[in-house]
Symmetry: C2
Subunit: 213 residues, 2 copies
């Protein structure tokens, strides 16, 4: 548990993750990309999984790459909105802001692991689409960067390199879909709380310093 406040507030809206509403095409593409990778999934295979013709599929999406981009954008917008709500919920305390945002990101990594795992396919986007996606994703990075910067300036965190520490924090969260399985021992909430504590260490702020567990 990160802090007493966050425990009290275990029902905050950003902690509840309902199934994401995807169109049948996006749902089928997500399955295909997860099972066989972007290059291992043909447009024909996606159309087959949805039960539509290939022209019908192209009516909605310009290309297979367009489908991947659409999925990445849905995914990133979702995590961005949650992270912002979690941040706002942290009041004026960088510790609480950071633990909330890390929890929000990890909850989504564990609950929507197929979508989160798509991150590994980003390198197959064309340079322009990769750039477009990066702009969307930058929102999450900037949010965490802002918290780490503010915490360091106020002496709450102790960090040698603020941007690199931010990158390291995001990396540890993003790698979770590689090993997390819903059938495993840990619930999403448990993983989220563990990473909130690790994140406080990473920014040089011990959770025990202010409030004992």
């Amino acid at each position: 548990m990160a802090t007493k406040d966050s425990a009290k507030d275990a029902t905050a809206s950003w902690r509840r993750i309902e199934p994401l509403e995807l169109t049948p095409i996006l749902e089928a593409a997500l399955e295909g990309f997860y099972d066989n990778g972007f290059h291992g999934t043909s447009v024909r295979e996606i159309a087959r999984r949805v039960g539509v013709t290939i022209p019908a599929l192209y009516y909605h999406h310009q290309s297979k790459e367009g489908i991947l981009l659409a999925l990445l954008e849905v995914s990133t917008s979702d995590v961005l909105a949650r992270a912002h709500t979690a941040y706002a919920d942290g009041g004026d305390d960088p510790r609480q802001q950071l633990t909330n945002v890390v929890e929000a990101i990890v909850l989504r990594m564990t609950t929507r692991s197929r979508l989160a795992a798509l991150e590994g396919e980003v390198r197959y986007l064309s340079p322009e689409n990769r750039q477009r996606y990066r702009v969307v994703r930058k929102g999450v990075e900037e949010l965490v960067l802002g918290i780490v910067t503010e915490g360091a300036e106020r002496g709450v965190f102790s960090v040698a390199d603020i941007p690199e520490t931010t990158r390291a924090l995001l990396a540890m969260c993003q790698s979770i879909p590689r090993w997390y399985h819903a059938e495993g021992e840990l619930t999403p909430a448990e993983v989220a709380q563990k990473y909130a504590v690790i994140a406080l260490n990473t920014v040089g702020c011990k959770p025990s310093r202010k409030r004992a567990r």
Copy 2:
């Protein structure tokens, strides 16, 4: 710079990374997998890149998956050997052991980024081969786990969850190939030193506590 000792010892053998000797088939497969992913690279395409026939290729490797496994094993044995030398170089000090091992891992992530990026293809291995690969990779995890455990027991590190912190440390290093480019501003040594400092924070050990910078 992690500590004065590591600066003095900038020429340690585990810090020098010579080009890895790969067979022409493995070299061609690595290029293909990096450019188009495991599923996006056919055995025919690998044979074409090497300039051999498909039967000749199958003479050396049972399958495309066998080639991926061979690459992953070469890659992991290389990092394992370096990490162990770096560890031994850290003497009896968990701080120095950890910064050395993190530096060794990051140096390899930045210098051999194509090979390191293969990690993302592991999920396409069959369950048996994934298990076989995990056994090889476990060596690196166990080395870091041992250092974090020892440091925590001796009160040098302050960590709430030792195995999860170890996983987080490895994840932040493993994500480096996603963004690191040899043409960028940072040299491999600079990235390695930044991550050594971040790692000390992550295990709740400030580098400034013992020796001022």
